[in-house]
Symmetry: C2
Subunit: 355 residues, 2 copies
Amino acid sequence: MDRRDFVSGAAAGAAGAALAGCGPSTEGGGEAANVQPQQNVRWNLASSFPQSLDTIFDAANILAERVKQLTGGRFQIQTYQAGELFPAFEVLSNVQAGAVEMGHSASYYFKGKDPALIFGGGMELLRELFAKFNVRNLPGGNTGIQMGGWFRNPIQGLEGLQGLRMRIPGFGGEVMSKLGVNVQNLSGGEIYPALERGAIDAVEWVGPYDDQKLGFQEIVKNYYYPGWWEPGPALTFYVNQSAWEGLPQTYQHALEAAAAEANVRTLARYDARNPQALKELVDAGVKLRRFPDEIMRRAETATEDLLRSQSSGALYDKIYESYRNWRQTEQRWFATAEQAFANYAYQGVQLSNPG
Amino acid sequence: MDRRDFVSGAAAGAAGAALAGCGPSTEGGGEAANVQPQQNVRWNLASSFPQSLDTIFDAANILAERVKQLTGGRFQIQTYQAGELFPAFEVLSNVQAGAVEMGHSASYYFKGKDPALIFGGGMELLRELFAKFNVRNLPGGNTGIQMGGWFRNPIQGLEGLQGLRMRIPGFGGEVMSKLGVNVQNLSGGEIYPALERGAIDAVEWVGPYDDQKLGFQEIVKNYYYPGWWEPGPALTFYVNQSAWEGLPQTYQHALEAAAAEANVRTLARYDARNPQALKELVDAGVKLRRFPDEIMRRAETATEDLLRSQSSGALYDKIYESYRNWRQTEQRWFATAEQAFANYAYQGVQLSNPG
């Protein structure tokens, strides 16, 4: 979609409109009494992402465009990038407070509020978790596996990580810190200049498509994989619970269906955009290198230690156990037919030899 | 959803109803003149699948249920399993003729009509292909990778395939025939008795979840992987072109959104159901075995030979080239971070040693 067309169209219709979906909540599952099925509803959505991360940010636009189509234009959602309404890391609290009807974010950004927010799956348990924040959660896209990041020099084993100044936020940064890395937190726009003037030695961002746009390949050439701290990070749409309950059922269904579609289309876009970007990076002289096994093993141990020790109580423990069981059962299946096929089909297709 | 509830509910509303969506087609992209946005529409959908393949068959029910929800019950689609309205392999021709508004099938079933129908991706080119059949195609689910099938005895290299009587239909069967297999075509219900009385030596069906229900593990124990002839078979919803054009735009959007959701939910269900079934099969004494490399290599060569030689003309060639280019670019990306992560994470998780 053309975001500008949508936004200007929505703005015309929304000028001065009350937040029709934000009436008092209603009981139970029936048609909400305070909004008629044909009523116009105008919502706002605050994203934690900048428009420059276009694949992620557009998940919200895919949702908004489809909801508009499904309701004949009667339910419209205007999307705002990080900082337009609220700073990126204040999205959840503002949806919780009802200052905005919807948000779009990566829930691990908010692990300070509850460490259980780092888990991306198990819908029933996550509904229980988000209820504490007055939020109804819907799936909101996925980047697929990310890359491990850009390093000025090839990594010399675990020793090479000691004191290395690396930009890596969140839980991945906590693990890297356990491995001896000097973890730096920089926002997207600060990274390139810091890398250029030698203030940092390494950086992780997303994957080939998003990384290429920030231009790290102009400064450093060692591009490591896999991004083991984000092998498939789930994004989430947040809906204020009272706003949700104020919607006619048909509009609730429209939101659910549009979120499901935005979820898979966002991953499909990454799957389509990353391969081409990776090829261009390698053509431009970037060296692809795999993290050494000793770093992978040490990171795995540190990750499991942190996941165990940071428990916030019974619900955390339930989600963690559910996640571990699910992962074990799934891996046994995917390690069979899927992995055997991939290992056969991928023989010799790599773009350059791993270092 | 509860299929029976839906079907009986729809039947009450649909009794004697005309096929409101099947009026004469209208021009262009505007709101269709012959159906009002609030009009009731009752469609039928003929599936090529039996209800016993519940994950695949339910893709059509997910679609129908969501379309009903999105339109406040005004657009309802009644689903029929294979054989209820038409035989499995006559679904496409009946959608083409307008005898039914929708179908759900695996398009490679119809490669006799045009061999280009074996390709599962490239939406723009496939729209051009399906237009020849008076059909608008929508994505309709995926099983994920399938298993290679059940063999009475472990396979002794390529020689072991000579004259082996194996139930394997379609393009996979054509390839197996090139490898010396005596290919048998049997419908689902005929397989178990044929295996039991020794009339066949091997059979492929789908994957752990569907295979377990047919009970092959009670007779033979060697379960091979990967199902290289179906590493991710795409299913498709067919919509009769005139029926599509007769829909109000809002209903067209409802169909598109519901199909996108049914597409990904069906794959998600397989991803959730196969692992548990695989575990139960192994617990019951089934031996997991990987196809030997020499068979994989010979099958790959035979597949590429067939894909090249069966061309039906310019459109086939365009789709085949698009598929090859896409596959090469995608594999280069997935062979990097994704495969490195999987190979690390799956160490030692296999349920039993490959033979």
